[in-house]
Subunit: 223 residues, 2 copies
């Protein structure tokens, strides 16, 4: 991972709530690693579509995939915005106004590049698959030539990114509201993997592989 | 709740993966109720910003709020897109290609209306607060005139909305891949409220109110 700071262009520079802004490149990867699903905003002639999608990443790019038939991943895509948000809990303050959310988030602006090189495409798809379900790439059948042709892979540069994080108690403990005698604090939100549920069509003798069953009970968005 | 079908405009009509599309108006509210945080895509001169935000709703509108100082909620906002996504688990198929996600999601296109009427604004802010933390509006200090002036509330019509849901096992149990002898199924993702964490600045004698402590262990995104 490059030892550097995140971009500070006009649109990624933190203007408001600066204490929640992060500038270290490592924080971008912390959110990318901990996240599961991104939201991809794609301007189209009919308005901005926002698509939830899985993703993968390497040191320089985020990868998202979809069908070549998808309207939202058309070949002539303009710049897109990718957002990853992890909700860690509610910030319960002494006033409605000071209520908020503890979260980890990133926003990436990029002009997507369609990955056509077969080797690069396979590597990118592997990053996506291994990010959501580590171990599956080597366990299940890999993409056929036909499936690869039906899949569009987009590479988004991480060069222009913004990261924001909020954690901890509400900010009003030294305000006049602290004398109201009200409880205040955080209500954490815990996201864990459940136990694998076999496909009903599966013969009983086939057990889930260890890389799947070992996830049950684990945090989905570890810090 | 109006007994009607969801819109089917050019951009909300389901073109691909139609079996995941929903047309019943009630399904929109099911996702709105079960969701917690939305993503709001706002076209700006500098590109599309995508902002995670809490929300509330009534029979006809979704409400989101923010600071009047926020770049993303500027007074002259064009049409925006609001997305709510709930991730229910991973779909682990017998091939990489058939992998996917079980989810509930909605996408709303709307030209936001800035709510200026003080009574309507207070009612809208209450809907937002009560959606994320039911009971808090009546427990904590409500917004002052100054705080109301510093808050922008946007009303987004629900008239043009699209809902998609996927649930259940992978779709490849009757494909040739079923003979590979591989495990396949779902890996559920469980999101629950944790135990309330008191603000360290809080005197020990103040206990969390029942409407907060009773949430611990409850599902965040119930069906």
């Amino acid at each position: 991972m490059p030892d550097r700071e995140l971009s500070a262009t006009a649109r990624t520079k933190h203007k408001r709530l600066r204490d929640q802004g992060r500038t270290d490149w490592a924080e971008l990867f912390a959110v990318l690693r901990a996240g599961l699903v991104a939201h991809l905003a794609v301007p189209t002639e009919q308005g901005v579509m926002v698509i939830p999608t899985v993703y993968g990443f390497d040191d320089e790019h985020d990868y998202v995939h979809g069908s070549v038939a998808s309207r939202s991943l058309a070949a002539d895509m303009p710049e897109v915005t990718l957002t990853v948000t992890i909700v860690d809990g509610l910030v319960l303050a002494r006033s409605v106004f000071e209520h908020g959310v503890n979260y980890r988030s990133l926003m990436i602006y990029a002009a997507p590049r369609i990955v056509d090189d077969p080797e690069e495409k396979l590597a990118g798809l592997r990053l996506v698959a291994e990010h959501i379900a580590p171990g599956q790439w080597d366990y299940v059948r890999r993409p056929s030539r036909k499936e690869l042709a039906a899949t569009r892979l987009l590479a988004l540069s991480l060069a222009e990114a913004s990261v924001k994080v909020r954690a901890g108690p509400p900010d009003d403990s030294d305000s006049p509201d602290a004398t109201l005698g009200l409880w205040a604090g955080e209500l954490p939100l815990e996201t864990r993997w459940g136990s694998p549920v076999p496909d009903p069509a599966l013969p009983d003798v086939i057990a889930p592989p260890a890389h799947i069953s070992a996830r049950a009970g684990n945090e989905v968005h570890p810090r």
